[in-house]
Assembly symmetry: D2
Homo-oligomer: 384 residues x 4
């Protein structure tokens, strides 16, 4: 596959975080009749959690033989701002590593302080550093000052490995790409598949990448929203399970190379949860992942972070902070929502991603929608 002008257009469009109208409408998995539990929010996206903004920089250029430093380039950066670009107000957060063959910087301070002070950034494995320092730089230049002068100096940056399709040792992510993703962050619909940090990713040996979903709780359980965004790069084909159906075994054709991937899962909620409760949410992402068939392989960096946009001002430096907390006894609906939204976000990543050819003409095929529907039907699991 040769990318020329239209792709350049695509890069710009994706950087804006919106799917170009001139492209075929982006499918969500549930549009194909995949059954999922629970009720999604309006956008079925992490941005259903009020205040959350998402921005992407997507880099796609070159084709054919890999020449380190020259490409082909299939990579990018994803920025998730818990309270949007306009805020320096930290959020409570917790994290969990199901299998730590990966990186999420900044977690030592998340664990200690209970706060996520800036954005969550996701990129490729070899570009975590440039993203990290550039986040500090962006904040110094664009962000309002905080009281202490320390917020944002320990950025949270996570990664998955795109070296199958991308010239990862070419270090193509530059500081400007980080500013671009941060500046592009907005609420509203979120592009999925081959965008941002997810651009060159492979999921269950299909083309994977960025996926998102959300759940809206009933009034009686607090009417809270849980949103999830994944950068999915994990799993063996034979493991892929969708709504309980062994999809990967039914559609075994053309697997990309195996298990050495990873998945980063970001869980957002407006429920007022304390840091230790958010860690509980982060741990539930494991269960959502498990539902899609992964056994969290040795090579997989399965690292999850959850934050709450409630309790604004909680990170103030002086005086006494007033907080609200959901009782532990009321957390089950939030656990369910996290599991369900994680499962659906992963399947959404698979459904949205399109076949990509990259470095050395390696190809990762898209999960074929028609075949998927047939398989679901065969197992009595196709929704009306």
């Amino acid at each position: 596959m040769r990318y020329t002008r239209p792709l350049h257009f695509l890069v710009v469009a994706l950087a804006l975080g919106v799917w170009p109208e001139s492209l075929p409408c982006q499918s969500k998995a549930r549009d194909l009749g995949i059954p999922f539990d629970g009720t999604p929010g309006a956008l079925n996206a992490i941005t259903d959690v009020k205040g959350v903004e998402v921005g992407f920089t997507t880099l796609i250029s070159g084709s054919g033989k890999l020449v380190v430093g020259q490409g082909p380039v299939r990579t990018g950066v994803t920025a998730i701002l818990p309270r949007g670009k306009g805020s320096n107000d930290p959020v409570f957060a917790g994290w969990f590593s199901l299998n730590g063959n990966g990186e999420m910087t900044g977690t030592t301070w998340v664990e200690e302080s209970g706060f996520l002070e800036g954005p969550v950034m996701i990129t490729n494995t070899h570009s975590v550093g440039v993203v990290r320092d550039a986040v500090i730089d962006w904040r110094v230049k664009h962000g309002a000052a905080d009281e202490t002068g320390y917020w944002w100096s320990l950025p949270v940056v996570a990664e998955t490995w795109d070296g199958f399709l991308n010239d990862i040792n070419g270090f193509h992510i530059k500081p400007a790409h980080i500013s671009q993703a941060l500046d592009a962050a907005r609420s509203g619909p979120v592009a999925e598949g081959n965008v941002g940090g997810g651009t060159g990713m492979i999921c269950y040996e299909y083309k994977g990448g960025t996926g998102t979903a959300s759940r809206k709780l009933e009034e009686k359980t607090g009417a809270f929203t849980v949103g999830v965004l994944v950068q999915c790069n994990c799993g063996r084909r034979s493991q892929l399970t969708i709504a309980g159906v062994p999809v990967g075994r039914e559609i075994p054709e053309k697997p990309a190379y195996g298990d050495e991937g990873s998945i980063i899962i970001v869980v957002a909620t407006d429920a007022p949860l304390l840091p230790h409760q958010l860690k509980r949410l982060a741990r539930r992402a494991s269960i959502g992942l498990a539902r899609t068939g992964s056994t969290s392989g040795n090579g997989s960096g399965d690292i999850f972070i959850a934050f709450s946009t409630a309790n604004p001002g909680a990170a103030k430096s002086s005086g006494m902070t007033k907080l609200e907390m959901v009782p532990n006894d009321q957390m089950n609906p939030l656990f369910d929502a996290t599991v369900e939204a994680t499962e659906e976000a992963i399947v959404n990543a698979l459904v949205a991603a399109q076949t990509m050819t990259g470095a050395d003409n390696h190809t990762a095929i898209a999960l074929p929608h028609g075949r998927l529907r047939e398989v679901m039907k065969k197992y009595g699991r196709l929704a009306r």
Copy 2:
């Protein structure tokens, strides 16, 4: 406490760890046509890991209205001895808490030392203490002395709550019951369902309890064995999933009370794994549990421990210890085996357990085998 004769017989029989021949033959889930991945060991039980011995004390007496201290009694103790009764040699171990609403004593030392020094015991929530001290006493009286005099003084004892069927506040487990379970421990087939610590347990609102399964790796991946034993007391009916099929929704009748259960999962292997690697195995039990539908509710004590019977003598006090280790890069088959055996052990507990009526005539029904087969067939998942 009054035992009618048949029950007394049953108690003795179960204490021997074998199912009485005069009772209907005990079914394993795969005998019903439930499909599972992987290849089980000869017994499809934790005792497929050479050296592991399992013993039970099962206490069933009384019926009708609950009178604290008088019954009805539906409880017991399970003893798992990694190297059998005859050995004082500790094993490497690691543990993980998916949702810590429960107790597993001794884990602070497991975490620090890397060793599990004695048995893993499982009982009801209110009897953890008596079991713990009695384990020390048993070892002082029966065990050979260790070099340091400290082994076994920090016993590992876990629990799930049986207060729906059992007079839990009557504290019916006595020190003699612990000796009985330890003395009864043996290799060979393992009784399942309403036995030992699992006697009064409820799983996905069916009668649950003790379950076990195993996996045997292929020669090329080391020919190791992974065995799992669960005490399953968790889950809401609507969550129950078997081989991807929403069984709980298809058979919603007569649920016992809801979610406030727990599951203890014990993973044994003969693969030479170090403590930090065994923690990785323990974490994979989460994925096996997830496959059966649980989202690990707030009230659930989902606590897992994994140990390796390899590296005998590793805990010696002086000199230099020689060890073997499976490379991290070779652990995926062990991860898969742990997930698969955990999933099957839970389903085995459900399939083996028989309807029980206990305190205040509360009843937990057995998962109906015929209905289960019908549902599996409906979703194209009944094995030939």
Copy 3:
């Protein structure tokens, strides 16, 4: 040493948690001129934190040769009730294990929920179980019911090993002793040295046991109180350091047996701290311990728990909980207070403990007060 009537009187008196007036007045380390940083509360005890109640059962009987089951007995139970006997309201808590060669039950739920739901109990290593179950029983019988019926069912019970002086394998702690300690709990002055769980303990090879101290913060830093209670059974003689002075090397005479002890440290505060902040406090107990010279030996169970009596009602089951929190940026004075009170509590345990002879006529000598003052003077560290 022969104990007769006066000792029986002592047992009763100590069980009441007060030092009998007819005995010589109990010295605190600072009364001897040991310099400590910071300002203690009125009692220089954990009970300076309003609401905290402490009770002891002290068992001292027999002498001469050890006969398992017959004695000599030198042991006991300590009960610390965060909000006193009259309350079932849990407190926020966090814990830390510096060296986990010991037991503190209930910590898995503390970690998960953020709450300590009942008392902290401390006893000898082999009696953790009986104490644990008896706490549940006491609560069932005496405590008011909670909303969920689950509080107090995962008790926090810690231990240190007193087998040098006590017939530890005789299991002399009985359920009644636990009720006794709980019922005896009260605010006010706290007995130190050879009382409660600390009765048979050895600290830096002197007689050790129970010690307590507190710090009161200045108005400008919140006027909070931090109280600490230790059960000190750790350390080698040569390590003992007091106010920076190598006391253990200066007074090397008559060491009891070496390093295989432990220390349990309980930190209480009225500062409104969240669970993850209390974990930070628990971790600072390490620094207080370090100041007394320990390097936390392999055989030492150095396990710490911190709780906050602020935020009453935080553990309610429904609705939204309103909380207060001290900003992280304001925690340094609380860290200092924890370190200082821990250090002083350990030295107080040493200063209060009296020479004891126990099993097989083993003797642990008291730290000689006069010699201590001389050594402090030699190094220019004697106050006034």
Copy 4:
């Protein structure tokens, strides 16, 4: 950026890891008569552990008013290669965060795998990213390939904050500086004070920076070596304690700004320890730090890592790995050595560092050697 000649010379000299002969001979604290426990190795440096190599890049330029991007520059990079530049063989490692207000990348994989696969790098807070990516780049370009292609892709990079003296927002560390530090790494004496990542650091409000020390165990306890290197940037003046003496209170003059620093502690040993045992060593660094007076303030990133150069080849990808392990019961001398070497390394950093004036003419004074000796003498702690 303009370097005056003498400074340029200094930069080169320090990059070589040796103190220029034309400069006054570098003092170690023990040369001043400070008493320390234990026996140091030949160099009293981390390089006493055979195979360990250390390299620095030191950037010192400009003076006067801070202009972001222009300087003054007072910063650098430290590289510690566990097996030296010539090896790609990972080492077993464990880490611990006493107070996580800082960054150490790569620790999630250290925790999961038990291995540290490349160097430990230390720099300033805002340059962690550039160092991280450059380490990958250096390895791709210079390192021999590993079997899996993944080693070194999750680098360990730690930091402390030098913004008081350095134009930290100028991001003066460039990829070439990382290569320079790695290429300069060597065994032998290690420069201390204002070098490498420690260049602009402040310790107990004196000039701090890089410090190192070691301990050699006796033959009967294995003759192992423990080496420590610290980048010390923490502590309030009033806290500073040396050999138990309140030095900070005795020499209160000219404190640099307060507590918001950090300390990174790297512990190396040739003792064959497993990952969980190395975590125990890392935790002991807390005690060494505590001995110098810190209470690990909220703003302090006190993060420690320990590795063992024993068990070469342990990280191989296939077959069965043969290992050796020191029994837990033999670890106390290693604990003591870690504590002692950490304490001495911190004091060495203080003694070696020289007064520095940097950004906006901020000055951090060196700990005055003469005064220090006087104070030690006053408290009877000056070694002959």
